[in-house]
Structures are given as C-alpha cells and as structure tokens.
C-alpha cells in the first residue's frame, strides 16, 4: 500500500490525502479546486500555486 500523505489545504482547510506525488507537482484541492504545489514530501507541505484570476467580465 503506497504511503498516504495528508495535509490541510491552505485556502479552505480541507484535509487532502495523496499518494505517489513528487515535489513541485501541482495538485488540486477536492473541495475548493484551488491549485496547490507540493513544496516538500517530508514533512508534507502544500502551498498555493501561482494562479491568475479568471475574469468572467460580466
């Protein structure tokens, strides 16, 4: 069973569980959909990935 890494989403605080990720990989928070960058594996740290705000322009 691959090791399950757990961390909190910095944006919404959701508990995020992942297996087989590498440093620098971009993953998505299942609750708020924000993109997160895997800063380190041990300890498992996630940070908001740089992301430009989509504008609907309505």
């Amino acid at each position: 069973m691959p090791e399950v890494l757990v961390a909190e989403c910095p944006e919404c605080g959701a508990e995020i569980e992942v297996t087989d990720v590498i440093e620098g990989e971009i993953i998505e928070c299942p609750d708020c959909g924000v993109e997160l960058e895997v800063r380190s594996l041990n300890p498992f740290v996630l940070e908001l990935a740089p992301q430009e705000e989509e504008d609907w322009g309505e």
Binding site: C12, G13, G33
Partner: protein
Amino acid sequence: MSTDRLSVSIVGASGYTGGELLRLLLGHPNIEIKQVTSERNAGRYVHFVHPNLRGHTRLKFTSASELQPCDLLFLCLPHGQAQTRIDDFAALAPRIIDLSADFRLRDPTLYERWYGRPHAAPEWLDRFVYGLPELHRDEIRSASYVSGVGCNATATTLALWPLFQADLVDRDRDVIIEVKVGSSEGGNSPSEASHHPERSGVVRSFAPTGHRHTAEVIQALSRTGQVPPIHLSATAVELVRGVLATGHAFLKDRGLTERDLWKAYRAAYRDEPFVRIVKERQGIYRYPEPKIVAGSNHADVGFELDPETGRVVALCAIDNLMKGAAGTAVQCMNLMCGLPETRGLEFTGLHPV
C-alpha cells in the same frame, strides 16, 4: 401487501409536489403505493396528469373519501385543509407527513400573524416536528407527525445556518435575504401572471416584503440564540424549478477570514448526505447553481466574505420541488421508518441542463 414493504398513500397527488412525491415513491424499493387521491381527477390514470410517469405505473387517482388505512400518509393539500381534517387523517395512519404550511410553526400566534387567521387545530402543533432533517434529524427519527418545509425558507435557512450555529453573526444587525425563484413555486393552477407571454423572461419582484416563509426562518435560526431582524424578498426569474437564496449578514468579529467561514460551513455540513459546499476559485459553476440540482435532493451551499465591511454573502441553491418539498419529505419518511436516509434520493441532477 408484502410485509417488508411500507404501504404509503398520498392525499392530493395531482399537484406538482404530489406528482414529484409520486415519482420518488415509484422509484423507492421499500415502498408500495396504496392510494393517490385527487377529487378533480378521481378515476383517471396518473400519467395523464404527470406525463413523465407514463409507462412507469398504471395507478389511478381515487377520491379521499375512499382512503384506507396505511403505514404512512403524505398530505399534499392546499394550505388550510390539513389542519381542518387532521383527526380523520390521523385515524388512517400511524405516521403522517404534511407538506403544506399548516403544521410548520410551533407557535399558533405566529401562525395567525403570518397566515392571517387562527389555526384550526392548535393542539396538534406541538405534536408535529419541523421536517428539516439537517436541523431536526433525531426528533424526526422518533416522530409520528412531521411537517414539510417551505422551499424559500429551506434555501434561506441552510444558507445562514452555519454562521448562526458557530455564533459568528452580529445579532443586532439586520439580515437581508433575496430569493430568486422559479415558476413551479406557484403550483399548477394558471393565472394571468403565470400566462407564458407574461411570465416568460421576467425578473419580477413579486414579494418584496411580507414573505410568509420568514416565520420559518426565524423559528429555525432561533435555536442558536437571539435572532436578528430577518428580511426576505422574492424575485421571479426565468426558471421552472429552482431557488437561489442570497443572504447578507454581518460578522461580529472583523478579524475573521475565509478559512474561519470554511470551518463553520464544514462543521455544519461535513456529514450531511445532501448538502454540498460549492465555493470554487475557477470554472463555470463556482457558486451554487439551481439548475445543476434540479431533480436532485441536493442543497448546494456557498459563501463569500467582504473583508472591507465584514459582510458575509451566504448562498444556497435547491430544487423547490425536491429539497424544498417532496425530496425532503421522502428523506423524513426514510428517517421515520428506519430506512437509509438517502434511499430513493440518489439522483445526481443533470449537466448540462
């Protein structure tokens, strides 16, 4: 009647709510539909009134005068009727779920103030439990008599509930809620205002003040302490099914952040089978959207914080015929009868739609 299946009847099954209830019960494996009544349509096949049910049932409407005892009775009568006939109905079934407004409010004086006349059976009021499982699950499990919920009240209550439960709201400042609603809320009897050329494409302020569901919202939120002034307005929009409630409340502590709000909403709804928190940074559907939940029992809830002013915008989208009426009623039936709460309510809703 096979022993393991519950015999269930619907009184007043020719309306939109009764028809939605019939659709759900037809798809429910533990239910056997005994009778469905309609005085106007007695003797007719149900699918001539509910066309989507063609090919799914050979049931015919009967008159309420022919009602026989059953395990559970749903009442889908126009407001005012259930309270005058409750004793007759109670003689027919040990469990009753009334989808009208007759038994929603616990306080008879509140009922008289909002509905303009004294309640016909006040002694029954405290024998009914308010049928919103997200707030009253345990009471409903052991209840014999459960009231339905108001659709606009449900959307409003579910939007604001986490903020009040976590006591984050300044209870001295007014809370304003605007509900945008679909045309099916008016039921299936036509009027000049619902005539297609007049109703199509409107953004119509049809109840800017004095909306009856306010009483239910106050009753629900008062479980968390003093309730600030609640002001409801309704606007009809180009939609058949659906309600979007947009609530405006003010935080007590200006230092709170979005993460604190996430925590409050997750604490309230993490284990709720039908409530989904929808607040996304990107994509098309970033906040709750009524058409996405149409036909499902979902209540999609979201929020946004204005750090400048401490104003929280609380959002909830539901299908007024499902989470706002028949879906929640079936959810209550499942709880009252010891069945899995989501049984018969698994439909995800459609997209695109």
